[in-house]
Subunit: 189 residues, 2 copies
């Protein structure tokens, strides 16, 4: 998606040898008009999958998922929580995931009421790095007896191997911008 690559080059920046900062439009300050282009593109790629639900994880995935939902005929969005809220009373599905940028391990948690075995789920997130979040969300979908119909990321850091591992596990993965590596502070597509 060329508009996205241009946006990353224009408004993003590289930190060290691994991290892409897109705080200006994607995961702190959010450009909602641009997210609509992203949502539309996800729909183009997964239109034939008859998606019934979009699953993401708090916090940065939420904006992407809710804007994308409009293009999927307003299917419900569910976001996995990383803490146990006092309102999650009816039992939950859980799965563990490491966060590369934060250096932490989180327990993803989705209420049992939020997924059903008939669901055809699209998993969306801002970044695809090591694939840990994708695997954890997919595990939750499968625990509910539902189908993982695709995993979409806005920005893939291919050099961290997540997309390869997810594809080897049989998942369909679509990333709107694929970064092959960072060389001398510059992004290599």
């Amino acid at each position: 998606m060329n508009a996205l690559k241009e946006k990353i080059l224009k408004e993003g920046s590289v930190i060290g040898t691994e991290i892409i900062k897109v705080d200006q439009f994607l995961n702190h300050r959010i450009d909602v008009k641009f997210l609509e282009e992203i949502g539309e593109e996800f729909h183009k790629r997964f239109a034939e999958e008859r998606i019934t639900k979009i699953l993401t994880v708090e916090a940065s995935g939420i904006a992407i998922a809710v804007i994308a939902a409009k293009y999927f005929d307003y299917v419900p969005v569910v976001f996995a929580k990383k803490a146990v809220p006092s309102t999650m009373t009816g039992g939950s599905y859980t799965a563990e995931a490491r966060s590369f940028t934060k250096g932490t391990v989180s327990m993803f948690r989705v209420s049992r009421e939020a997924l059903s075995p008939e669901d055809r789920v699209l998993i969306l997130d801002d970044f695809l790095a090591s694939g840990e979040a994708g695997f954890a969300l997919a595990e939750i979908v499968k625990a509910a007896g539902a189908a993982v119909c695709g995993i979409g990321s806005v920005i893939e850091k291919e050099y961290q191997g997540g997309s390869r591992r997810l594809r080897e596990a049989g998942y369909r993965v679509e990333s709107l911008a694929v970064i092959k590596g960072i060389e001398n502070g510059t992004i290599v597509w």
Copy 2:
């Protein structure tokens, strides 16, 4: 907002004597079509404020803020973070807030690059309870030299006193559904 009250009664539930559970449409599973009605209503109430930015806090506020942004001519959304991400490199504004439902204290954090002194900011969140989050976000806006033009909540728990305190401090507060109390497990409007 009558449609919201009906939605709370139909899809929400009461836990104990204090907590309203709206996991089915607002802060875990998200009904995006319904959020559009909410966004439109916020715009009706704050249309004349010439808002240039919407500020919220992760995680539940994000969906509300990004959907509302469309009705405010796609102004940028900024969400305060509760942890220090590795990408927040340019300095930040911070303020402390307690969470009633989680029983925790969080440090809200907004990058200095995300707010400017010219901004006319609308603060949005899912719940208004004790007002702690509202005060913390307002403090951040003022630290940036910007103007707090309004504080909007989807559901206000009036009995926790936050709206009174915020209004006494001079802020304009608009809540789309106001809960006066919970009596014998039933919501009193």
